[in-house]
């Protein structure tokens, strides 16, 4: 079943067109990987899915993005409400400075007006467990979030995103700033999370895409070149460009 459908999506930075007529659909409880050389528009693409793209000065987008049957690119749609349903994890771990581990996880809830300590505690524990971080931080919930290691910080950010229970989670090269061990942990996490949530992950690492994803989309110069099952893309790509890219001829 498709939870998120993209039709004719275009994105610009000023006069520069970063995405060209993208058409793509994401199945629920699957992991979709977006691959392509840097600058191909894959990050821009997922930033359009939670309408974060338009927060960049000069950036704009048009087209259809249909989330659970609702087009999020029409008049009157509040981007804030959309972002609540579409969580996001960034390239570099970015816990809020000056907030503790606990406060970081519940930041979304608390700022949305949920203040009941018991609820917050439950949600924090659940999210941290989902993010496979609970055992490591349960004794230091009151320490600043920035005191954790890089890999832990990234899982903290995942927990923070999960705490508001979005049906879709976007991950923008979530392991590019991490060491191999932390990377492996995050990948494991992605596989276990897909029971709960639909994941769209941008990666520049093709092995990673092959390891974690069910579907793969290949982007080049703002265009979607090929989209299909991961096994098919990596073994018998239909497009010549895809083949060249995955065999390392460019990128």
């Amino acid at each position: 079943m498709s939870i998120l459908k993209v039709n004719n999506l275009n994105a610009w930075f000023g006069e520069h067109r970063a995405l060209n007529n993208i058409k793509l659909s994401f199945d629920s409880n699957k992991v979709t990987a977006l691959i392509g050389p840097s600058g191909c528009g894959k990050s821009t693409f997922i930033r359009c899915l939670n309408r974060l793209h338009e927060e960049t000065p000069g950036a704009s987008a048009s087209g259809q993005v249909i989330l659970q049957g609702e087009n999020i690119y029409v008049a009157g749609v509040d981007p804030v409400r959309i972002r609540r349903k579409v969580g996001m994890v960034f390239q570099k771990p970015n816990p809020f400075p000056a907030l503790s581990v606990f406060d970081n996880v519940v930041a979304g809830l608390r700022l949305a007006g949920i203040g009941r300590k018991s609820i917050l505690r439950d949600v924090a524990e659940k999210s941290l467990k989902l993010a496979a971080l609970w055992d490591e931080v349960k004794d230091k919930l009151n320490q600043p979030g920035t005191s954790l290691s890089g890999g832990q910080q990234q899982r903290l950010c995942i927990a923070r995103a999960l705490a508001v229970e979005p049906p879709v989670l976007l991950m923008d090269e979530p392991t590019s700033a991490l060491d191999p061990i932390s990377t492996a942990k995050i990948e494991e996490l992605v596989l276990s999370l897909k029971k709960e949530i639909t994941i769209i992950i941008v990666t520049h690492n093709m092995q990673q895409a092959a390891r974690v994803s069910d579907k793969t989309a290949f982007f080049l110069l703002g265009e979607l070149i090929e989209f299909g099952d991961t096994s098919q893309i990596f073994t018998v790509p239909k497009e010549k460009k895809t083949e060249e890219y995955i065999t390392g001829k460019f990128g």
């Binding site: 004719n8 999506l9 275009n10 610009w12 006069e15 060209n20 007529n21 338009e54 704009s60 987008a61 048009s62 087209g63 259809q64 087009n71 690119y73 029409v74 008049a75 009157g76 749609v77 509040d78 981007p79 804030v80």
Partner: protein
Amino acid sequence: MSPSVPIGDVRSLSSGTLINSTKKATKLIRNFTLKRDVHLADKIFFLGLLFTSFLTVILLASIGLFLYLASEKAIAASGWQIIFRSLWDPVRDVYGVLPVLYGTLVSSLLGVIFAVPLSLGIALFTNELAPKKLATIVGFLVELLAAIPSVVYGLWGIFVLVPLLRGSIQPFLIENLGFLPIFTGPAYGVGMFTSGLILALMITPTISSISREVFRAIPHSQREAALALGATRWEMMRLSVLKSAKAGVFGAIILGLGRALGETMAVTMVIGNRAEIVASLFAPAQTMASVIANEYTEATSEIHLSTLAFVGLLLFMVTFLVNSIAHLIISKITKKHTGTF
């Protein structure tokens, strides 16, 4: 190219009409998508910020406007040539602005002349010579100099500097350099020379800290290049630091000048408050700021008040001009530097 695409299904345009869309048309659509969907609370927040910022602009504009309105009587009575009249006589209710203009310019320029070598010396010392810890301490001390209230400088000036100058330094200068018209006349202690000294102390932090910032923005490789050529430390500073920092240092000096022009209390307390044009630097004088501080509360005649407001307007315009020049220079430089790094 693929066709440009309509914004949503509601406003669907057939893609055919947009295939030939010009840049303008796409822009239109994009602006349309962008401007619509803002969270309501965010809109209110933004408007609140916008309003406050707008008030800040209005504030500056209304300072100029109201000063102009308050000085209209003086301008109406004698026109703008009041600037060039050299008699300031509250007793006979006759006012010419030239003496206070002269006093302001001379005392401020003196301040700048004294302050520039000191400031550059400190900036070079802290940035190029001193070990980091010492540089931090000196930086803190110089910052403290800027934090001392003007009235405290004035107090110190009255009871320490003025007696010192009157008792020994001025008589010495008059005796030995008295052939110069600027060092003639009796040693009052108070006057433009004394004001210049105090102003120098007050603007040194400004000039030195901005110069230091400009020096800091110069890449290290430039210094190494000079040292690798066998330059001594001073030659390195001259070649790679001072040469490329020229414009920035100039901006810093102008900014210091701007501060000196408007400085009020310390100057009021040591300048002697006599609105006359005398060649000697030791003579008492009056500045634009000090004449307002001295006479505004005591002024009774309409024309006196209005003329003082006019002096205020003049001072506002002069400092505005000087400071905008300084900011223009400095912002240009910082922009250039952030561009190259």
